[in-house]
Amino acid sequence: MKPVLTPEQAVDSIKDGSSVMAGGFMGCGNAFTLIDALINKGSKDLTLITSDTAFPDVGVGRLICQGRVKNLYATHIGTNPVSGCKMNSGEMTVTLVPQGTFSERIRAKGAGLGGVLTPTGIGTDIEKGKQKLTIGGKDYLLELPLGAEFALIKAEVCDKSGNCFLPMATKNAAVVMAMAADHVIVEAEKIVEAGELDPEKVTIPGVFISAIVKAALPAANLQLK
């Protein structure tokens, strides 16, 4: 059985300067309750690894706007203008990673692989400083594994063994992140007993999960345009 904690207890071991992965895509699938707890705790100098920086007042976007992030790994920061400002001022270092490479580097870490070979980025600035290999006459970049101390994951349902169901488009990078962090905290809308979540409907196996928190903030936080 995995411990069911309060948001404050769950983020207690995250220190200033810790590396944190956050699932979600444009805020969809961000663990709002855990991010809120991290902000309330006053965490700073974080290394944040996340698909994008959402919008200024949404999910991980708030961590950026409140100046809690020192190093950012992301694929896209264009929807949150504060990210660009902090990058240009030097307040935050930003490493932009192609999205497919982003998920495969994280998966490589979680799957015990020494890296991945991808054609993405060949002939672009992305290849700078990276090893190139030619396989079957085609050039590939060697992209190295990417892991973190913590991952913050949002699930709709989590059973007490940690098995998670992530519905619809909330799966995004959360699935690989759960594999690649030392300590994985899942925020669930609904926490059920082991056996109550159909094993066929498990998106993330419970083996990766360290702690469970009941979601306190609604998932609805869309930018309605």
Partner: protein
């Protein structure tokens, strides 16, 4: 509809005719997204949304938005019958593995070698590449949808891109408000021109050398 919008509609309608029935297509944000509204009657295509599903449908009606279902721009959308959800690793395996038939993207610059620059202007605009680099490398066919010239009237189809590249030699077709251009081994071939322009005007608005097709069409 204002004249500029009408030209954009003409452009996306032309692109919509390129897809065979049943094609798996990924549309970029902005003008490329409009292509979905002009698929010819009798044809169906399956849209891929790189954040994790196929069967991307129209934007969700007001009041019926589901926070768990957004498109790659973060807007609430719908999923159509036949679609399915998956995680990011699967989504980009579909893209990089060559399973997407067509991708339609905007561009800042394209050149004679089919090189594409569409993700940053150093010092000015650095939004990040998102899924664009993987899409351009992985999709079987890369179609660029863009205005023929930039806001200052300068050509965007160049001899050689000056901005940082998104990918090398991956562009197959360029469709603009003025022209339909195919990237071939011998260079750029002007295959069609818009009905309200001339070959001379297209050449004037293009820095790259254009080979004129013997069977020049209009759209």
């Amino acid at each position: 509809m204002d004249p500029k919008e009408l030209k954009r509609v003409r452009l996306v309608k032309r692109i919509a005719q390129e897809f065979p029935d049943g094609a798996l297509v990924n549309l970029g944000i902005g003008m490329p997204t409009m292509v979905a509204d002009y698929i010819p009657a009798g044809k169906t295509i399956l849209l891929h949304s790189e954040n994790g599903f196929t069967g991307l449908g129209p934007q969700a009606e007001k009041g019926k938005e589901d926070p768990r279902l957004v498109n790659a721009g973060g807007q609430p959308v719908t999923i159509l019958p036949g679609g399915c959800f998956f995680d990011s690793s699967m989504s980009f395996a579909i893209i990089r593995g060559g399973h997407v038939d067509y991708t339609v993207l905007g561009a800042l610059e394209v050149d004679e070698q089919g090189n594409l620059a569409n993700y940053m202007i150093p010092g000015k605009m650095v939004p990040g590449m998102g899924g664009a680099m993987d899409l351009v490398v992985g999709a079987k066919n890369v179609i660029i949808a863009m205005d023929h010239v930039n806001k200052n009237g300068a050509p965007k189809i160049l001899k050689k891109c000056s901005l940082p590249l998104t990918a090398v030699g991956e562009v197959d077709v360029i469709v603009t408000d003025m022209a339909f251009i195919r990237v071939t081994k011998k260079g750029l071939v002007l295959e069609e021109i818009a009905e309200d322009t001339t070959v001379e005007e297209v050449i004037k608005a293009t820095e790259a050398h254009l080979h004129i097709s013997g069977k020049l069409g209009k759209f």
